[in-house]
Symmetry: C2
Subunit: 402 residues, 2 copies
């Protein structure tokens, strides 16, 4: 084609990217300045402070990695592990398997603690593994499994790691900004996230934070970090608090404008309010889905409000439903991933996209498509009515000022 | 501060990021869509085709890495090298040293071929090293050294590598779009670039291209690539030509809108015209700088037109000049890097910023500041006059259509 690309206006209710706030898009398009410009350095300091707020941490080493969440994950593993180390990886979905890959590519050994996909990580199994592998250096797990929609008890898991002398690596890609992430309270050592989920920012950047214990472990390494790009000691030279910032790589300037704006929006709303909004809209969606005869994969107590994994009704063509929603309503919902491919849909209510209009749009659009495809369920009126009971009359809206 | 960030409007004439085209900023801010959306998949195909044009290659494995140029460099090294391999690295500036770091972090050995900073790589020295190290697997060099402003003869160096049975890795971060990059004609095997230089795009993405020989070498590896994020076999699963795109990581959707637009602009202008424009504006700047008594670091035949490295006149305070240019004229020029820190300025005329207005702005602003600081040179009128002889009356301007 080679003509200008004008994307359709979608409603993004998949596992991410989620809808980007117009404020963030506007920030993204501001004029580029140099990555060593004094005004940019000041912005970096502000981004660090806002990330500390979002992560609820005082960690000095808190910054955005200049690449997507997968690189944030890799940054944690390659900095904390050396060849010959042992790591315990809790797996209850796709991203635990990716952690295993990371461990092994560091030349380390992964001890796997497995739970059923859709369940939270079982602390007892982790403790058993910690007792059995006293030479383990760290424990890694996913707080909010994007592939299944299950949330694990990060505080308990981190405490177990610490008790047994291990560092912890926690994936909060899907949780940050949507459900509570409390890095200092958890005692977590290395935590990474993504921008394209509950932060309502564009994809491509990965916020990370490292505890003092983690920094000490990095400084105590006997070998160099295998990735030059992700070597935190080098990255710190640019992002650190020193008055002179050393060039490491060219920061993605405009993407950081966007991240800054998204963090500002989060702070304006307040963390607790954001979590509450995600929860409320989830309850509304869940009530409506139930009326459509659609059930959740994850037990109620572990459900992520921002990512609703539901079983595809019997006899329904997965791909056709998603295609029809996209083409007719410009609505994107997510397919299943890994073992759950073809079996589930992943309906996101993340960040800016977690709003009442989207709950109603999704319920009504899905209702229409399912009826057309011959699904046997109660009429959609009931779904909308069921959802209405949970909709908040005065839900706080993001203020858009130009 | 934690208030909205509104960057100043700069003129970016450093080593990058360079001024971003308003068309690119506009593309960047278009609504985000899913990274598996059919329309996004179509855009990816178009980006690949446009990158093939920019790189002048038919290589199927041509795509943008979702991270800055340093990650593009790392992608080339970690995919082509395994522990125990030997690589010959030609160094004539900062980025050759970074290549050495990459080689060593792969567990491989780097044989260094060194040239004076500011000179092109000497093919004879490379050939001597190739004869001496017949077990070398690859040769790596920087086509356009961003730290010195020198361009090397990529075709000759790649041919030497091939003749001696080696693969070649070529850094074209600063050259792509500014001077000729001809991947197939060179016979180069792995080439990486950046978006924030002569492509007039925002920083954060690294276009790469791999030859069939390079792909065969990747497929013949006996060990996994040490980086999961940069493993080209996995990245290919998403970017490859297959009808079904496998999820690897979430693509930086909006940054790819921007890259697409910047490549479209390059194609509209035409590669040869873009090179000619860079050369013409360089000649104008060089004539003017000469009048200001400022001399070039690089011999004329190896000078990069897009990055003018000049010696700071004796007795002039480097930092004060740059600070004054920034504060008074909102003009950024670059400091020296590595061994050249404090000794040179790097004046970029890259992509959208390579235009006649900028030549005149830079000459006049520098003239004013230097006179104020007591430099002894001919009056600025002469510089502008000297430059004028090279300014083209009808230089083609980028067309901005909304």
């Amino acid at each position: 084609m080679s003509t200008q690309f004008h994307p359709p206006l979608r409603t993004l209710m998949g596992p991410g990217p989620s809808d980007v706030s117009p404020r963030v898009l506007q920030a993204l398009a501001r004029p580029c300045i140099g990555h060593l410009d004094p005004q940019f350095i000041a912005l970096m300091d502000d981004i660090k402070a806002l990330l500390q707020y979002a992560f609820q941490t005082k960690n000095a080493l808190t910054l955005p990695i200049s690449a997507p969440g997968s690189a944030g994950m890799e940054a944690c593993f390659v900095n904390l592990l050396e060849a010959g180390d042992k790591a315990i990886v809790c797996q209850n979905g796709v991203f635990g398997a990716r952690m295993k890959e990371n461990v092994e590519r560091c030349g380390a050994t992964a001890v796997m603690v497995e739970d059923r996909w859709g369940e939270a990580v079982d602390p007892q199994k982790l403790e058993d593994a910690l007792k059995q592998h006293q030479d383990a250096k760290l424990v890694a797990f996913v707080h909010a499994e994007t592939s299944t929609g299950a949330q694990s008890d990060a505080k308990t898991l981190c405490a177990l790691a610490t008790k047994h002398g291990c560092l912890s690596i926690v994936d909060t890609v899907t949780s940050l900004g949507g459900t509570e992430v409390a890095v200092d309270d958890w005692g977590a050592d290395a935590v990474y996230a993504g921008t394209q989920k509950c932060l309502s920012c564009v994809p491509g950047i990965s916020p990370v934070t490292f505890s003092e214990r983690a920094v000490a472990a990095i400084k105590a390494r006997s070998t160099k970090v295998q990735s030059w790009f992700l070597d935190m000691e080098l990255v710190m030279g640019y992002w650190g608090g020193a008055s002179k910032r050393a060039y490491h790589h060219t920061a993605p300037v405009n993407a950081l404008y966007a991240l800054h704006e998204s963090l500002l929006i989060l702070k304006e709303e307040g963390l607790e309010n954001a979590w509450q909004r995600h929860q409320q809209n989830h309850l509304a969606l869940a009530a409506g889905l139930e009326c459509l005869g659609i059930s959740f994969v994850v037990p109620e107590k572990s459900r992520l409000p921002q990512l609703n994994n539901v079983t595809i009704p019997a006899g329904i063509d997965d791909a056709l439903v998603r295609k029809t929603l996209l083409e007719r309503y410009s609505l994107e919902i997510g397919a299943g991933l890994g073992d759950l491919a073809g079996k589930v849909w992943r309906i996101g209510l993340m960040g800016f996209a977690s709003k009442q209009e989207n709950v109603l749009l999704c319920l009504n659009a899905l209702d229409n498509v399912l009826i057309e495809l011959g699904a046997n369920h109660q009429p959609g009126e009931a779904a909308a009515t069921a959802a209405r009971a949970y909709l908040v009359p005065n839900q706080k809206l993001e203020v858009f000022e130009n």
